[in-house]
Symmetry: C2
Subunit: 240 residues, 2 copies
């Protein structure tokens, strides 16, 4: 049986302008691999409702899960919640349980739950909340879309809340062999292994360190016996 699939949508002008270096994609990719969900596509779009709606429809329609990052704060350019609601033609309004979470949080800090902050309690109808242990403003899951914050510490906490609720598949196992040879030298060997083990993927990632070319060869698959067999054979061929 094949693993569940997923896509990610990163939302934010600041990523596309180069101002901010996204780290959420790498974090989510690693966590999904760990629980056996295959990340199949990532898109990055600006803070633009049409762009977000189109991407949500395309990705949520195609893959089992869609995870979004960014655009759920209190400012005018935080339009992810409205856009996800629009993608599914669902109404969105301030929800009392979300408002209560924010009220308690700001009360404890002696801050006012003003109109801007109250925007973060706007949740599409039919969604379930995702806990935010850091700054209270919740994410939410609407159908197969998991809407999370862009600030990395909060994003990571939300991922930790959501993943245990999803059904994963067989975790992807991987083993890496590092070879101090050019990628073009080892390519015929990798090709042979890829043909011999059609259920595995054999990736090669060249590097240059101190002027010397090398390559990390990574064998991936969900069957440990096959991965081990491929690595043993590969190792013999690369030393041969």
């Amino acid at each position: 049986m094949s693993n569940p699939t997923a896509a990610m949508l990163v939302i934010g002008d600041e990523i596309l302008s180069g101002r901010t270096r996204d780290s959420n994609m790498h974090h989510l990719a690693g966590e999904l691999t760990r629980v056996g969900i295959d990340l199949r596509e990532v898109r990055v779009v600006p803070d633009d409702q049409d762009a977000i709606v189109a991407a949500v429809r395309a990705l949520a329609g195609r893959w089992d899960h869609l995870f979004t990052s960014g655009g759920i704060g209190p400012t005018h350019d935080d339009i992810t919640a409205e856009s996800v609601a629009a993608a599914f033609d669902m109404p969105i309004r301030v929800r009392e349980d979300a408002r209560a979470l924010l009220q308690a949080h700001y009360d404890s800090q002696g801050l006012e739950l003003n109109e801007s902050r109250l925007r973060m309690a706007r949740i599409p109808e039919g969604a379930t909340l995702i806990e935010n242990p850091i700054s209270a403003a919740p994410g939410f899951t609407l159908k197969n879309v998991h809407v999370m914050a862009g600030v990395p510490t909060i994003f990571e906490a939300m991922v930790a809340s959501v993943l245990p609720t999803l059904t994963g598949g067989a975790p992807l196992l991987s083993q890496t062999l590092t070879v101090q040879r050019g990628e073009g030298d080892v390519a015929p060997i990798l090709q042979e292994i890829a043909v011999a083990f059609p259920d595995l993927t054999v990736g090669s990632y060249p590097f240059i360190r101190g002027g010397v070319h090398g390559v990390n060869v990574v064998v991936r698959g969900s069957d440990k016996t096959q991965v081990d067999a491929a690595v043993t054979r590969l190792s013999g061929m690369l030393e041969g």
Copy 2:
């Protein structure tokens, strides 16, 4: 006049599995902003011909330029060149000028230009080569698609080769104000500035440092007078 637009396509299983942290997106985003080309969308897809062809057609059809990263090495999973050729229904074969570049490079290193390495001389018909000053194997431009290596040092060198050949627009200027207040506190002020200066974008990027909430407010636009005026007004309001 609005700036030229661009998209980026990052190709590679290793990014989606979380094994490798992509750095090329952030580099390209910064360089495009510097020369006045607006990066409007990024996609990450696996080493899969159907996925690459579909993404190339969608992105090259919609934006002025498409930049790709990854999948042009010598191994069996390097299928970007074939896929880009297929996206435009162009034939692809070993081209003599590309072969000569590789031959000279491997001769100088005392290495053999074997069949795997020769794959890197396969160039779609009608393409122009992009110089690779590091490991010789060239990238190429086919129509509005610029195909470059995934290894960051080589990707960055290829970007430096390509960008001067493109016509940019007005570089995007930005100024940042850092405020030690919650994002929800300053949101009404940002909204007011965004309405008053419709040609500018006003972004807010919250952070938590040492337990204290703050926000970087970034004003962006291509007209320096307007950016300065907005920042002066914003600064007064944030201190008020």
